[in-house]
Symmetry: C2
Subunit: 116 residues, 2 copies
C-alpha cells in the first residue's frame, strides 16, 4: 500500500486557503518526482485512491529534521518555498511532500508526527 | 498565463488538515486530466511555478452550479468525493479542481468567488 504524506509548518499561522494551496503544491511536486522516477508506484497510488495524510511540525528546524530523516530513508520528497506574494516572506519554507511511497516506510520515519 | 483553481465547500467545517488533503486530491486529479489531454499546458504551468488559488462556496448546490459553469466553458475539472473514513459521510462532495487553464477563462467563470 502506497500513501503520500505532506508535512506542514504550524508556526506560520497560514490561512486555511494558503495552507490548502501550499499542500497541493507539495502534493503535485512530490507526485511528479515519483512519477518520473518510479512510474509504477505513482500509477498504483493513483489507481488506489491517492491515500494522503497531512502532518504538522511546529518550527522550520523541526521540518528540516524530518525532511533529513525522509531523505536518509531514501524516500522521494519535495520541499515547497512560498513565492511570498501574499501572507509570507519570499522563500519561506512552508511544507514538504513525501512520496507516494510504501506506507510502512513513511510511518517508520514520520509516525511520531500528529495529523494537522 | 495558466493557473489552477480549487473550489472548496466551506459548509462542511473540515479541519485544516482534511481541507489540505482534499484540496491536494483535487489539485492532482485535475492536473492529471489536463496533463493527459493537454500536456503542453500542464508542462508550462509546472515550469511557471504552478500558480494556484483556493476559492470557497457555501453549499453543495453552489459547488455544483459553479462546476456546471466551468464545464460549459470547456475547462477541464475534476470533482472530489471523500471516501468518508474520517470526519465526513462516505461520498460527500468536498471540492473540485479546475485546470491548469488560461487564467482569464477561469476568472471569467469563478471571478465572483472569494478566496478561502
Amino acid at each position: 500500500m502506497y500513501k503520500q504524506a505532506i508535512v506542514v509548518r504550524k508556526d506560520l499561522k497560514m490561512s486555511a486557503g494558503k495552507l490548502a494551496a501550499q499542500s497541493s503544491h507539495a502534493s503535485i511536486a512530490s507526485y511528479n518526482l515519483v512519477r518520473r522516477k518510479f512510474p509504477k508506484i505513482a500509477d498504483e497510488w493513483e489507481r488506489n485512491g491517492m491515500k494522503k495524510i497531512v502532518l504538522k511540525v511546529e518550527t522550520e528546524a523541526e521540518l528540516f529534521e524530518y525532511l533529513e530523516l525522509v531523505r536518509e530513508a531514501g524516500i522521494p520528497a519535495e520541499v515547497i518555498r512560498d513565492a511570498g506574494h501574499t501572507q509570507l516572506e519570499p522563500n519561506t519554507v512552508t511544507c514538504f511532500g513525501v512520496g507516494p511511497w510504501e506506507e510502512e516506510k513513511i510511518d517508520k520515519v514520520l509516525g511520531k508526527l500528529k495529523l494537522l
